[in-house]
């Protein structure tokens, strides 16, 4: 039962002051085992804040990140799943499913977490699942002005994943759930 937090596109301080207080009150340390951050934090203070929620933090570089040392893509294994992380501004057209599927095949992962569009989506295709947690602060993007703050929490338990989507709509936190599972893998991990 591993809890993985996926969020990104925070854009502090350029486009937003901070994460919504309702989100911050829920993100308490001790519950989450991993954080996957799609990038665009953009400053070190947000990095430190995320570190306090969970020490196992994975970040990839977004185009506005001040720290240039973050990698472009990252892959890791959690439980029976392989997860991939990429900001998404490199994938053109932005948010296009086919191109993202290509990236996913390239990284050879079951779940690809990507951002940049500031819009939550969850797609399934032959190669796996693509999840976009949206923007945790609701910052505007070049393609979308009206953004609801959102992030994603995945509960990976063996071969099953439950994805909880937290969205701030009209000042209230709404939680949605998506479940999927993986057939037992034939290849050795």
């Amino acid at each position: 039962m591993v809890l993985v937090l996926a969020l990104g596109d925070i854009h502090v301080p350029q486009r937003a002051a901070d994460l919504p207080p309702k989100f911050k009150s829920m993100l308490v340390p001790g519950k989450i085992q991993h954080i996957l951050c799609t990038g665009n934090l953009s400053i070190k203070e947000i990095h430190d804040y995320l570190k306090t929620i969970c020490p196992d933090l994975h970040i990839v570089r977004g185009e506005f990140d001040e720290d240039a040392r973050y990698p472009d893509t990252k892959t890791l294994s959690i439980g029976q799943f392989k997860l991939g992380l990429c900001h998404g501004h490199q994938v053109i057209p932005w948010g296009d499913l086919d191109s993202l599927a290509m990236l996913q095949r390239q990284l050879d992962v079951d779940i690809l977490v990507t951002g940049h569009t500031h819009q939550f989506t969850a797609y399934k295709h032959e190669g796996g699942v693509v999840i976009n947690p949206g923007s945790a602060t609701g910052a505007y993007s070049t393609i979308n002005q009206d953004v609801n703050p959102s992030f994603v929490l995945m509960d990976i338990d063996g071969l099953r994943v439950v994805v909880y989507v937290y969205e701030l709509i009209d000042g209230e936190v709404k939680v949605d759930k998506i479940d999927f599972k993986k057939a037992s893998s034939t290849s050795a991990p």
Binding site: L3, K124, G128, L153, D176, K177, I178, F180
Partner: protein, 452 residues
């Protein structure tokens, strides 16, 4: 204020030195006649009440009888001398055989005479496999005295435990997935070929991992994590010298798992006291005895049986674990005071020396003795014998416990009186190895004195 004179029998040498590893020829230890005659006397285990006669040297003004008529109690004591220090040796004397036969006879009756069983158990049970397990279950009220009801009772209790486990120990993930399966939505396969947007379902009942709501299974799960960690740490530390608990084998690991489950279910069912450090020590003997029962059925259900017996045993002592009740009439402080009064009553000189002269506050040593039911003071197998006596008390283990604690003090009185604060504390906190049946005998004697 009249100073009560210490009775002669109490001051005699036999109480003060820890008995050497039992030799039946040691006259100083035997309370009765010569060793050779004991075997004879044991043969005639009649229904006469014991009259304990001290060695001929002391006066006959000594208070003698114990009002509790014991059928073969007298013979069994001398028999025990040969055996109590070795735990798993087959009975080597005639008395033990007879006691065991008596017990087995008692246990195989259709309706068990509880009073009889209690008096037999108070002498401490033989170590032969299976007996202790059944007797403890009877003494703790887990099994009813009517043998015919056993199978239905056991079935019901065991299924109840399983129900508790299912309800309380499933992880929230598991709960979520069961819900999903029951609604028939369990059909998203990762690589099944089609392309689509994954459909979302709104959660309205507050149950997500970050929920802070009181009714949320996730929230309770995270709050319990601290308890779970504490239980885990304590179980791993239980009896590191006994392979049953701490070996690297999968058997030991499964035992630890079972113990953790029991303690966790207990903690969750009793939100008032939850888990307190030390409960693992009280569970350990119970679980050990049940798990080592040669009967397949009992051994495999040891976890469920141990849970209920643990609850039953703890019910008498619950108030000791609640901090608010510390100073109340039922709390631990009052129990310690009672012990102190008991010592004062039986041995004023010792009491005076301990509490007033050397200022050894009984709380320093008796706290652990009482709350952990003496599991930390003696070796594990000696504890089993002591617990036989504790559990057999019809008034509840606490009375016997206080009696045994008093006896423990009286037995080392010579060293205590000669010692100062430091040496006394050291002695009492690391109580020397004692002949257990001797200890139990003294405890019984003191107790019967009280009733005279």
């Amino acid at each position: 204020m009249v100073r009560k004179k210490v009775p002669e029998w109490l001051n005699s040498t036999m109480w003060s030195t820890p008995p050497p590893p039992s030799s039946l020829n040691d006259d100083a230890l035997l309370l009765r006649n010569s060793p050779s005659s004991t075997k004879m006397s044991s043969m005639k285990k009649e229904t006469d009440t014991i009259s304990v006669t001290p060695p001929p040297s002391t006066a006959s003004s000594v208070p003698s009888p114990s009002p509790r008529p014991r059928r073969n109690g007298s013979s069994s004591i001398s028999g025990e001398y040969g055996n109590s220090s070795s735990s798993v040796v087959a009975p080597s004397s005639a008395e033990d055989f007879s006691r065991q036969a008596h017990l087995s006879a008692e246990l195989s009756k259709k309706v068990i005479n509880m009073k009889e069983l209690r008096s037999l158990a108070s002498q401490s049970l033989p170590d032969s496999p299976g007996i202790r397990s059944t007797v403890w279950k009877l003494l703790l009220g887990y099994l009813p005295p009517e043998r015919s009801l056993w199978s239905s009772e056991l079935k019901q209790k065991r299924s109840q435990y399983k129900h508790y486990k299912d309800e309380l120990l499933t992880s929230p993930s598991e709960i979520t997935w069961r819900l999903v399966r029951s609604k028939g939505l369990d059909n998203y396969e990762l690589k099944s070929g089609s392309r689509c947007m994954l459909s979302r379902s709104r959660i309205t009942d507050e149950d997500h991992p970050l929920s802070l709501g009181k009714a949320s299974a996730w929230n309770t799960y995270f709050q319990d994590i601290e308890t779970i960690e504490q239980i885990d740490k304590d179980v791993k530390r239980t009896h590191p010298d006994i392979p049953f608990f701490s070996a690297e084998s999968s058997f030991a690991r499964s035992n630890q798992e079972s113990m953790k489950n029991i303690l966790l279910v207990f903690a969750k069912l009793n939100q008032g006291i939850r888990y307190v450090q030390g409960m693992n020590e009280i569970l350990a003997p119970i679980f050990y005895v049940f798990r080592n029962d040669p009967d397949e059925d009992s051994s495999s259900h040891a976890e469920a049986d141990a849970f209920f017996c643990f609850v039953e045993l703890l019910s008498g002592f619950r108030d000791f674990y609640c901090q608010q009740l510390d100073n109340s009439v039922v709390g631990i402080r009052s129990a310690i005071t009672r012990l102190s009064q008991l010592v004062r009553k039986h041995d004023e000189e010792l009491w005076r020396h301990l509490e007033i002269t050397t200022k050894v506050n009984p709380q320093f040593y008796a706290f652990r003795w009482i709350t952990l039911l003496l599991t930390q003071e003696f070796s594990f197998f000696d504890c089993l014998h002591i617990w036989d006596a504790l559990l057999s008390d019809p008034e509840g283990p606490l009375e016997s416990l206080l009696g045994i604690c008093c006896a423990m003090l009286v037995l080392v009185r010579r060293r205590l009186i000669a010692g100062d604060f430091t040496s006394n504390m050291k002695l009492l906190q690391h109580y020397p190895t004692t002949n257990i049946s001797h200890l139990l005998y003294v405890a019984n004697k003191l107790r019967s004195k009280m009733l005279v």
